[in-house]
């Protein structure tokens, strides 16, 4: 893993900042929520206490404890804000709730809804009846079969009931009809013009929108839709259910009173013990979750959003309230809770407090508040925090990355310098990059420099060792040899002469060893003394190779020259020495019967002098060291001393001429080629 990657990973740990920020924001939000809950609950309790002091302005009937039952025909009467038009449509009622189905046993379906203005009760019924049976002319029920809706109203007293029915020969505006017994005892139909209705025929059946003066209306009523063909009926009839459906009115004037209690953004609703709304005031300014004003704040909710899955959900209804808080309040316990309205994805705070009169809970007051303000506050804080920490993280990652890149570039530079410090020609690059820096990398570079300078000293020592040795050993050798000379001159016996001869052989060998050891030093010396002249390489080569052919009779030496003269500038004597070394080397390694090929090629910038032989290939590991001083890997033994100076001398001479020396294996593996480049003039 690269340093860059490592530091990048380390830098990623700064992501803990936004995380911590989020946690903090969550806690903040939780605390805010709790305080909002408490304050709203306190408001609710206050209002409840105020209302319980004047129960008559809140409740119609404090005694009615029987629960609301739609199946028993109970109807909630929605307060209507405007006078609806009698047209068979309830669009103008402004009520979101659908009509409630009437109980049926036959499968004949009818739905009904009630509303009231100050003067009228409006009834709306939807009856599914594919076949319209018209009322024959003023026929009373029982005479002739026609579709009708029975309506029985209870007057002020429980006994005074008025039976009406709605039927028509043709859809349109109609009046309620009632059956009266004529003087002759026959039943006939009388219209009640004060109860108006509109019969609207639809593809599914018919709608009936009726308007009844409130003076006709008592606490109970019976509504039943009857199919003219006798196939079914839906609703409740006085005969079957003598008690009838009850009407649950809102409390007049309560809205106005409630509106004095609340401030903007809060909705207050008073419910009775059935949770039916008695009155409400105020509007919620809720904005659905995920649609807050700041678009940028929505994306982080993706992973920071309020967890709504565990939140209780409340389906709002037009006629009643529901939820844990409502249930708790109706049991007499104040309660506040955050709820989600799934349809609109609104988050609401509901606080409900019981309205108790004489220790008995008759209803509750429910305050609702949108989470908007809270959310906005939280969003702002969180977004800001989140953005800041993200920017900080981003910056720190960038900085870390840049730093890591810088580090790895420096280390890379140092590494490549270290790798190439000892060149293929054995030269040591003493200066390391970064060595001026004061940090650890600089220390490392300086360590490298120290190491290299020691290596260089050692190399220098090796390089001069031969010369020194040969110089230092020369005097004792001379003593030995001159002593032998003297001894010989004294006149010797034969056996003594034998030993002397052996000793002399030894000194000769020692002499040649010393001479070989000092060769490089002498070449360096003569390079210093050399004068450069222009000479023809081609002539030099052809003359020298001819001499080698005589000198090394055992090997074939091939020569390939360019057609034209090849002038070079330098010391021809040195070039001959270079050639000597290359040829000696080639002869040493060339197998018996092998050939040595010498080639001179003129390239764009250089002369290439190639000396190849059929000898064994050079292992790759040695390739870079061949031209170093005192480098000797010769396996075989011969009578000549080898100190690995021959190719070093080649290099010295090539470099003196501004050229290079290199060795390579032939591509076909048939041998090796030593190439010396010499610049053109």
């Amino acid at each position: 893993m690269s340093i860059r990657l490592q530091l990048l990973l380390v830098a990623l740990t700064t992501l803990v900042l936004p995380w911590a920020g989020c946690e903090y924001a969550r806690e903040l939000e939780s605390a805010l929520r709790q305080s909002q809950e408490q304050s709203l609950l306190a408001s609710a309790t206050t209002i409840a206490n105020a209302l319980s002091a004047q129960p008559q302005r809140v409740f119609h009937d404090l005694s009615d404890a029987k629960p609301f039952s739609a199946s028993a025909g109970d109807l909630y009467v929605y307060p209507l804000l405007t006078q609806p038009l009698l047209d068979g449509y309830r669009d103008d009622w402004g009520i979101a709730a659908d009509p409630v189905p009437l109980p049926t046993v036959t499968g004949y379906r009818a739905r009904v809804q009630a509303g009231s203005t100050e003067r009228f009760l409006y009834l709306y019924a939807e009856v599914d009846d594919a076949h319209f049976e018209a009322q024959p002319n003023n026929a009373p029920p029982g005479q002739g079969r026609f579709d009708r809706v029975d309506l029985t109203l209870q007057g002020a007293s429980a006994d005074a009931r008025s039976n009406y029915f709605f039927a028509t020969s043709a859809p349109g505006l109609i009046a309620a009809q009632s059956v009266v017994k004529g003087d002759d005892g026959t039943l006939r139909v009388a219209a009640e013009p004060r109860i108006q209705a509109f019969w609207l025929q639809t593809s599914m059946g018919y709608h009936l929108e009726a308007r009844i003066p409130l003076s006709f209306v008592g606490p109970h009523l019976w509504v039943e839709a009857i199919d003219g063909r006798g196939e079914g009926r839906s609703g409740i009839a006085p005969t079957a259910n003598p008690e009838g459906g009850r009407l649950f009115f809102t409390t007049a004037g309560l809205d106005a009173m409630l509106s004095t209690f609340i401030r903007d953004g809060t909705r207050v609703t008073v419910i009775d013990s059935n949770a039916l709304k008695l009155g409400s005031a105020g509007t919620l300014t809720a904005t659905p979750l995920g649609e807050s004003e700041d678009k940028g704040s929505t994306w982080y909710r993706f992973f920071l959003g309020i967890d709504t899955s565990a939140m209780p959900q409340v389906v709002p209804a037009a006629d009643h309230l529901s939820g844990d808080s409502v249930r708790a309040a109706l049991l007499g316990l104040p309660h506040a809770q955050w709820v989600l309205v799934p349809a609109s994805r609104e988050l609401l705070l509901m606080a409900a407090a019981p309205i108790a009169i004489d220790g008995h809970t008759h209803g509750a007051i429910v305050l609702e508040q949108a989470a908007d303000q809270l959310l906005a506050l939280r969003d702002r804080a969180l977004t800001r925090l989140f953005n800041l920490t993200l920017i900080a993280t981003f910056l720190s990652v960038i900085i870390m990355l840049a730093f890591a890149t810088w580090l790895s570039v420096r280390i890379g530079r140092l590494r490549s310098a270290a790798e190439s410090a000892v060149g293929s020609d054995g030269k040591i690059q003493l200066h390391m990059p970064e060595s001026a820096s004061s940090d650890e990398i600089g220390a490392l570079a300086r360590g490298f420099e120290r190491l290299l300078s020691r290596l260089n000293e050692h190399t220098q020592y090796l390089r001069t060792l031969g010369g020194k040795l040969s110089h230092e050993l020369r005097t004792p050798l001379t003593i030995v040899r001159s002593s032998l000379d003297n001894l010989e001159s004294e006149g010797l016996r034969d056996d003594q002469a034998r030993y002397i001869a052996r000793a002399r052989e030894g000194t000769v060998r020692l002499q040649s060893i010393l001479s070989a050891l000092g060769a490089a030093a002498r070449v360096e010396e003569s390079i210093k003394q050399s004068e450069r002249v222009n000479f023809d390489l081609r002539d030099l080569l052809s003359s020298a190779i001819a001499a080698y052919r005589d000198g090394f009779a055992g090997v074939r030496i091939g020569l390939e020259l360019p057609p034209d003269a090849c002038f070079a500038r330098g010391a021809p004597d040195l070039i001959v020495q270079l050639l000597d070394k290359l040829i000696e080397n080639a002869v040493d390694f060339c197998p018996r019967g092998g050939a040595i090929s010498v080639r001179l090629v003129r390239s764009q910038a250089d002369y290439l002098l190639e000396v190849g032989n059929d000898g064994p290939l050079i292992p790759a590991a040695l390739m870079g060291h061949l031209f170093e001083s005192m480098f000797e890997q010769r396996q075989g033994r011969d009578d000549k001393p080898h100190f690995g100076l021959g190719l070093y001398i080649v290099r010295l001479i090539a470099e003196f001429h501004g050229g290079t020396a290199a060795a390579a294996n032939r591509t076909d593996g048939s041998g090796v080629i030593f190439t010396v480049t010499l610049p053109l003039i």
């Binding site: 110089h471 020369r474 005097t475 001379t478 003593i479 040899r481 001159s482 002593s483 000379d485 003297n486 001159s489 002499q511 001479s515 000092g518 060769a519 002498r522 070449v523 010396e525 003569s526 210093k528 003394q529 002539d539 030099l540 080569l541 003359s543 020298a544 190779i545 001819a546 001499a547 080698y548 000198g551 021809p572 004597d573 001959v576 020495q577 050639l579 000597d580």
Partner: protein
């Protein structure tokens, strides 16, 4: 009367060996270990020939100073440098100070004796007024083998003993290539190839000093040198 040779050499064993060998050849040999004792003795009596090492005890270049002093005392005294040093620079410095020859200690005792004899012979030849000596003439070159004198266009070329013998060997058979070994044999010296090369170079330079167009010594690469007329 025996010719007297002074050997100034700080290495006693070597000194004694040289002395013994030269004594065997009939010379009277005096040996000195350092410059001071040598100079004291020379002031009393000049030797007929001096063999000097360059580094003398604590004086790394004491031999040079000694050579200079000796040359100041006598312009004709043959001086041979005999040293373990074999660098070009040493040789050039030594010869420039007026030494007649510069030998490395590789030289064998018989070779040394031959050189000493040659130098004495030259002294004798120079002292003989007029003799019909063996003189080689090759165009502008003239070599007096006895006096070991070389002239080019009549101008004397001052060559060291080794250089003289090299020129002599080349000029005797013009056109013949002399390889390095042959030149060494002729010069009574054991040298490595580089030293021969630098001798040749020096010889050319000395001739070119007189005649810039001098081109009589030709290099035959890989083989040796030849004299061309």
């Amino acid at each position: 009367m025996k010719k007297q040779i002074a050997i100034v050499e700080d290495e006693p064993a070597l000194r004694e060996n040289y002395a013994a060998a030269l004594a065997r050849h009939g010379y009277s040999v005096k040996t000195y270990g350092n410059r001071k004792t040598a100079m004291q003795a020379f002031h009393t009596r000049m030797p007929d020939l001096a063999i000097i090492d360059i580094s003398l005890e604590d004086e790394a270049e004491g031999g040079y100073d000694l050579c200079r002093d000796l040359r100041a005392l006598s312009a004709e005294l043959p001086i041979i440098f005999l040293t373990a040093r074999d660098s070009e620079l040493d040789a050039v410095s030594g010869l420039r100070l007026g030494a007649d020859d510069f030998l490395t200690k590789d030289v064998s005792l018989p070779h040394l004796a031959a050189r000493v004899a040659a130098l004495f012979r030259r002294i004798d030849a120079l002292r003989r007024p007029d003799n019909a000596a063996e003189i080689i003439r090759r165009g502008s070159l003239s070599i007096d083998g006895d006096k070991m004198q070389t002239t080019w266009n009549g101008v004397a070329v001052t060559l060291s003993l080794t250089e003289f013998w090299i020129v002599h060997a080349l000029a005797r058979n013009p056109g013949h290539v002399k390889n390095r070994q042959q030149l060494m044999d002729a010069a009574n010296v054991v040298l490595d190839d580089n030293t021969i090369t630098s001798h040749i170079k020096r010889v050319r330079r000395k001739f070119q000093h007189i005649d810039a167009a001098f081109d009589a010594i030709q290099t035959v690469y890989g083989m040796g040198y030849r004299w061309v007329e």
